[in-house]
């Protein structure tokens, strides 16, 4: 008797948490799985902004639900299954590590649409993948980094050795090098997406070794907070989100955040949920960037010299207009072998499977 009551209570709790399945007929329910807390101020925060934009756009016609801080792996599969059971019509799984769980659950729920961010596996017709061309943003901040460094040492806090991150490193370095031939890149692998203390330690390690411009591929604002301790002699970039709180130093001078790469997921989320509602939804593999407004460079502040700001803006305009591809040859691979000939641009397949550094980066990619 007591056990039955408990189960009933638990079931009621789950229903409350994910909304009543019975209502799924009138409203479209979009659900989101986040790898970190919404309050990370970076990656997850931006996905949540996208989710809120969907609600804003369609009002009562949609219902949104989300779960934060879902670990990649077996837990994710459980959470995604629970969402599918609770009447979600479309489920966005917003981290690379959800790739297999998403496909596994999709096999069991053919009527539910699944959208996996930054992955490449679409094993079932109801799984789509979407990504943003972050390397376009990395190109712009790489140019700024190359121009701004005083020590000629620039840093990159990397998360995991996956193509996504390696692409970012290459783009950042390539454009820093074009702007400043003497530049040297220091890569530090944090092996985490979100651990503020460790991200701060990584920034500190690089600052202690003379690196003065750092970009991060992790999710929190901690690296910027650490850079701020240098009091205006080192700079960084907002990552995933604008991180505008770090626009000025404590003494009022501009910095440590001089610009930012913003992931703007709203256009994609609004488009896909809209397609689902009007019946035009199809399986796709989306990879949009600056032209579609999914990758945005946040306001550049006055720590960047005016001419550099103008150059960066010109690059943004060229990429947005489709006139410039950040991976345009001549570019050699790290071992000196030719990759792209003069004027040749990289194809998406190579980029998505990128497992090599470009020429000039020292060190190996960990496996």
């Amino acid at each position: 008797m007591i056990r039955r009551t408990l189960l009933a209570t638990a079931a009621a709790g789950l229903t409350l948490a994910f909304g009543a399945p019975a209502m799924a007929q009138d409203t479209t329910k979009a659900c989101f799985v986040y790898v970190g807390p919404i309050g990370d101020g970076g990656w997850t925060y931006q996905h949540h902004q996208g989710a809120l934009a969907v609600k804003e756009e369609y009002g009562d016609k949609v219902e949104i639900a989300w779960q934060e801080s879902v670990p990649e792996g077996a837990d994710a599969e459980r959470v995604i299954t629970q969402m599918a059971l609770s009447g979600c019509d479309i489920i966005f799984t917003t981290s690379f590590g959800y790739m297999d769980p998403t496909n596994n659950v999709a096999a069991k729920f053919p009527d539910v649409k699944f959208e996996h961010a930054t992955g490449y596996k679409r094993e079932h017709p109801n799984v789509s993948t979407y990504n943003a061309r972050f390397y376009e943003g990395r190109a712009v901040v790489g140019h700024i980094a190359g121009k701004m460094t005083q020590t000629n040492k620039i840093g990159y806090i990397a998360s995991f050795p996956i193509p996504e991150v390696i692409m970012g490193i290459n783009s950042y370095y390539h454009h820093a090098k074009l702007a400043n031939p003497d530049v040297e890149l220091v890569v530090t692998w944090a092996y985490t997406w979100f651990d503020p203390a460790k991200e701060a330690d990584a920034a500190r390690a690089m600052l202690d070794q003379g690196v003065d411009v750092i970009t991060a591929h992790t999710d929190s604002t901690a690296p910027l907070a650490e850079i701020a301790k240098e009091g205006g002699s080192a700079w960084g970039f907002g990552q995933a989100s604008d991180m505008a709180a770090f626009m000025t130093n404590d003494d009022g001078t501009p910095g440590p955040r001089v610009a930012s790469i913003i992931d703007e997921w709203s256009p994609y989320y609004i488009k896909r949920v809209g397609q689902l509602m009007d019946g035009t939804y199809e399986q796709i593999d989306s990879w949009a960037g600056m032209p579609e407004g999914e990758v945005v460079i946040g306001e550049m502040n006055d720590a960047i010299p005016e001419d550099v700001q103008a150059e960066a803006q010109a690059m943004i305009d060229a990429i947005t207009a489709g006139e410039y591809h950040p991976f345009t040859g001549p570019i050699n691979k790290q071992d000196g072998s030719a990759w792209l000939a003069e004027g040749e641009t990289a194809d998406d397949g190579t980029l998505l499977g990128m497992d090599f550094y470009v020429e000039g980066i020292t060190g190996d990619i960990p496996n």
Binding site: G39, P196, A197, A205, G363
Partner: protein, 310 residues
């Protein structure tokens, strides 16, 4: 690879900063475990301390007041654990895990309005003469006050447990609560005080993260530091001096491997990252194989419920 890029002075200095939060949490937890209570809620108390300390510091502009409030907040939260486990005799493991969940949830609720804000941090001390010493001054004598307070707490805990009557009573309660009770010691009261001390230390450790080490409030920012503190207590086989060694080793290896990477070493950093955990296992094996000295050196009544009528 360019190892000369690593400046040993700055390396040691950043290790001391990096290790302080886990040192504080671990020394508190050690006292709790010495009294025979296993509180797995360290992570929850740390993050509560982190958010409360941040909120108070940002509203008053006084980081030290933030630390004091964080210690109180950690102690109050641990009191809930104490009441449940000592008075209502709930299971310590389950209650401790529950405490972690409560702390994580509560902190993200309280911290919502404070995300992305900046706070005043503790100034680095400028100790006359000592701070000006070449190398050593920068390494050991130019930190903020909390680094020295954390070291002071370690010494105080060591002296308390080893040289005071109260410390002897606390250890007796942890080794055999039945005997301690028969001798007329207030087992529950002693344990409650130990639990609150542990909570206060965890709160301080959390506040150190949000006010000095990072310094900002981000949801979930402890990211497992509380669990590392628990591992350090085992690693240290419940001795204050070894807690210090353990915390600096755990904190130090993280910082060292990041520095090695920044200097261009790419091979083996993963192994270095996992080494503290391997060492913990090794220490456990070694300690438990040495039967003549009593296995594990763990307090005999660790994690057991006490009720006076039994």
């Amino acid at each position: 690879m360019d190892l000369s890029a690593i400046n040993p002075v700055l390396l040691v200095a950043s290790i001391m900063i990096s290790a302080t939060p886990i040192l504080l949490a671990a020394i508190g937890e050690m006292v709790v475990e010495k009294s025979g209570v296993l509180n797995l809620g360290v992570e929850g108390m740390m993050i509560t301390g982190a958010v409360i300390g941040f909120i108070v510091a940002i509203n008053t502009g006084a980081p030290l007041l933030g630390f004091a409030t964080a210690a109180i907040a950690g102690a109050v939260l641990s009191l809930a654990f104490g009441v449940l486990t000592q008075i209502f005799l709930s299971n310590q493991v389950a209650t401790g895990l529950g405490l972690t969940l409560v702390g994580l949830g509560l902190s993200s609720l309280l911290g919502k309005p404070y995300e992305g804000q900046k706070t005043v941090t503790l100034p680095k001390l400028d100790i006359p003469i000592l701070s000006d010493l070449p190398a050593v001054g920068r390494m050991f004598f130019s930190h903020d006050i909390m680094v020295y307070i954390s070291l002071g707490i370690v010494v105080a805990v060591w002296a308390f447990l080893k040289h005071t009557r109260a410390g002897l009573i606390l250890r007796a309660v942890g080794e055999s609560h039945e005997s301690a009770h028969a001798l007329g010691y207030k087992v529950i009261r002693v344990r409650m005080l130990a639990i609150m001390f542990g909570g206060a230390c965890a709160g301080l450790g959390g506040a150190y993260l949000s006010l000095v080490r990072v310094p900002q409030w981000t949801e979930g920012m402890t990211a497992g530091a509380g669990w590392i503190a628990l591992a350090i207590v085992v690693f240290a086989s419940w001795r204050a001096g070894r807690v210090l060694v353990g915390a600096y080793l755990f904190g130090g290896i993280t910082v060292l491997q990041l520095n090695l990477q920044a200097a261009g070493l790419t091979w083996g950093v993963q192994y270095l990252s996992m080494s503290p955990y391997l060492i913990t296992i090794l220490v456990l094996v070694l300690i438990s194989s040495n039967r003549s000295r009593g296995s594990h050196n763990a307090p005999a009544n660790l994690g057991q419920t006490f009720h006076a009528t039994r």
